[in-house]
């Protein structure tokens, strides 16, 4: 297995304070998943108990506390959230206080679950977003990554969601060259139209070369780190750890990508979530390059953002935020 290389303190990984706790993630399924995808950056699997399922009783105090911090929106991930027996109760409680996004493989839906989700969506003033991971537009392109039968199973889940007037965000990790994006999207949209999804929302993610993905493809090169000098003129609001934290059954962590890294666990309470973090992991370079990695928006290259910031002679209010907030 490719070694995880950490930047040492002497190499001065840039320190990023939490500017504002805007989004709060819950690792509701821990590292447990009904699938065993060979690109999973935290190597989730049916037998990976590094992080466990969160019970409603573990979740609810954090939700209550988050209100005091003025959290704007909530995300749920794993593993596969819908293997958690408490997930519907968790989502219902969340939608009473804010918007919820669930990252799912869509292979565990039943008519009953969809009906419950539809009911809580319609009863809430907030959006219930479902982000469905499918990594190819056919069994031939998806199943080698996510496992035999997963394309058909996930597409059936999407069909059920669309029939209930959800507009799931289909999320795919780019396992092809970036210039092939248009081809991929065209093919995928044609497949989705066949199951009734005629205005699909799509999100492409760059590959995170840690966990299983480091074995499937390759890890990061030795020199790939975020450095202090790279942060000059960079719009750090694009980094998730600038305005977000993740809660698991074992505490509060800096971000969902590093949730199984011991040094990324900040403590046990929301107060601990306010600590800053040094961008010492190589995966931080992927967030740095693409920005908005974990949000619902499509990820983008950050090249243009840096150019815009440089070309303005003044402080740019569009990309700034008050340092004293949160």
């Amino acid at each position: 297995m490719a070694a995880l290389i950490d930047q040492t303190e002497t190499e001065c990984a840039p320190f990023l304070p939490l500017s504002s706790l805007d989004s709060l993630w819950f690792q509701v399924a821990g590292t447990l998943c009904n699938l065993r995808c060979n690109h999973c950056f935290i190597s989730c699997a049916p037998d990976n108990h590094t992080l466990g399922l969160m019970k409603f009783e573990q979740f609810k105090p954090h939700l209550d506390e988050s209100i005091r911090y003025g959290v704007k929106e909530y995300y749920f991930t794993g593993g596969e959230p819908f293997i958690n027996p408490d997930i519907l109760q968790i989502l219902e409680a969340t939608l009473a206080v804010g918007p919820a996004t669930v990252l799912t493989n869509a292979t565990r839906f039943t008519e009953e679950k969809i009906a419950r989700l539809t009911g809580m969506r319609d009863a809430s003033a907030y959006s219930l977003e479902l982000r469905v991971s499918i990594d190819g537009f056919s069994p031939e392109t998806n199943d080698p990554i996510r496992g035999p039968g997963t394309f058909d199973s996930a597409m059936n889940g999407v069909r059920m969601l669309v029939a209930s007037e959800f507009l799931p965000i289909i999320t795919s990790m780019r396992s092809w060259e970036i210039h092939e994006d248009d081809y991929f999207l065209r093919e995928f949209k044609a497949e989705l139209a066949k199951i009734g999804y005629t205005r699909p929302r799509m999100k492409l993610l760059p590959s995170l070369k840690i966990g299983q993905e480091a074995l499937r493809d390759h890890g990061y090169a030795k020199y790939e780190f975020v450095t202090e000098s790279m942060m000059a003129g960079y719009d750090e609001t694009q980094l998730l750890c600038h305005n977000s934290r993740v809660v698991s059954d074992q505490g509060v962590h800096v971000c969902p990508i590093l949730v199984d890294k011991p040094d990324a666990r900040l403590g046990t309470s929301m107060r601990d979530a306010l600590k800053g973090y040094r961008l010492r992991h190589q995966a931080c370079t992927t967030c740095y390059k693409f920005g908005a990695l974990c949000s619902n928006a499509t990820s983008q290259s950050m090249e243009g953002k840096r150019l815009s910031a440089h070309s303005s002679s003044q402080n740019n209010p569009a990309t700034g935020s008050s340092p004293n907030e949160g």
């Binding site: 929106e73 907030y126 070309s311 990309t319 004293n324």
Partner: protein, 262 residues
């Protein structure tokens, strides 16, 4: 006593709607009218809005579009991340940049990023996206009550009025404070109607606040004709004629997206 103001945003070069608003708002009792920026974008002949704003002495808050055009930036800083959204944003930005006079660019560059005032004892803060970030999208269905309370507290205000999303909404907060998104007068609200929207905010005695959204009819057919004569993309014209958004859709949360047809 009641004090009453009108607030609008997202002009997007729609000088027909702006002229209609400047007649409509005083009739509804607004003693003062404020603009929350984004003067250019989808529409034709961007210079036409400036004389209207100046002649009516309208205070204007700077939007991301105004900041970009005013500072000669490479793009509109609209905050889109989808390739198709950015494709149309690019067409719109290049046209607007090319057709805005230098004196108007300088005027936009120097606009305030927020305005604050007291309205019958209530503190009001006007901004473009949010008080903390000019191009922050505050959508109705993805913005929690707790977050809005935090914004009001952090910025020391009782009422925040913003725009940027192009969709109007209002939430009265448990603390008695308010958040208002005034919507946009530049294009319809993705509701299948050709009217556009602005807001009238009235503060009565004892700090009682009324928020009323106004559907504003204007000569959208003339706007569509002028857009076509300027060879502006047909997708933008279709929105003006049908009331449904055809572009910049990927940034919408699910509930807002589901209300439209595209």
């Amino acid at each position: 006593m009641t004090e009453c103001i009108a607030v609008f945003g997202g002009v997007y070069s729609n000088h027909f709607a702006l002229a209609a608003l400047l007649e409509d708002a005083p009739r509804r009792g607004a003693s003062k009218i404020y603009c929350l920026g984004d003067l250019g974008a989808f529409g034709p002949n961007p210079d036409k809005v400036f004389p209207l704003l100046r002649d009516a002495n309208i205070p204007v808050v700077q939007g991301n579009y105004d900041n970009s055009i005013g500072n000669n930036l490479a793009d509109c800083q609209c905050g889109y991340t989808d390739a198709k959204d950015n494709y149309f944003a690019r067409l719109s930005y290049d046209y607007t940049f090319k057709n805005t006079a230098t004196e108007n660019k300088i005027w936009m560059r120097d606009l305030a990023v927020e305005l604050r005032f007291d309205l019958n004892g209530v503190r009001v803060l006007l901004c473009h996206g949010s008080p903390r970030k000019m191009n922050e999208f505050l959508w109705e269905t993805t913005t929690s009550v707790a977050f809005l309370e935090r914004l009001c507290g952090a910025h020391g205000t009782d009422v925040i009025v913003a725009t940027h999303t192009g969709l109007h909404w209002h939430r009265a907060l448990p603390s008695g404070r308010h958040f208002v998104n005034c919507g946009a007068i530049g294009r319809p609200a993705n509701d299948g109607r050709t009217c556009v929207w602005y807001v009238i905010i009235a503060v009565h005695d004892a700090k009682r606040i009324d928020v009323q959204f106004v559907p504003l009819e204007y000569d959208h057919e003339r706007l569509a004709a002028e857009m076509r004569s300027e060879v502006i993309p047909e997708e933008f014209v279709e929105t003006i004629e049908t009331g449904w958004w055809t572009t910049c859709l990927e940034v919408l949360p699910m509930k807002e997206r589901a209300r439209g047809v595209h």
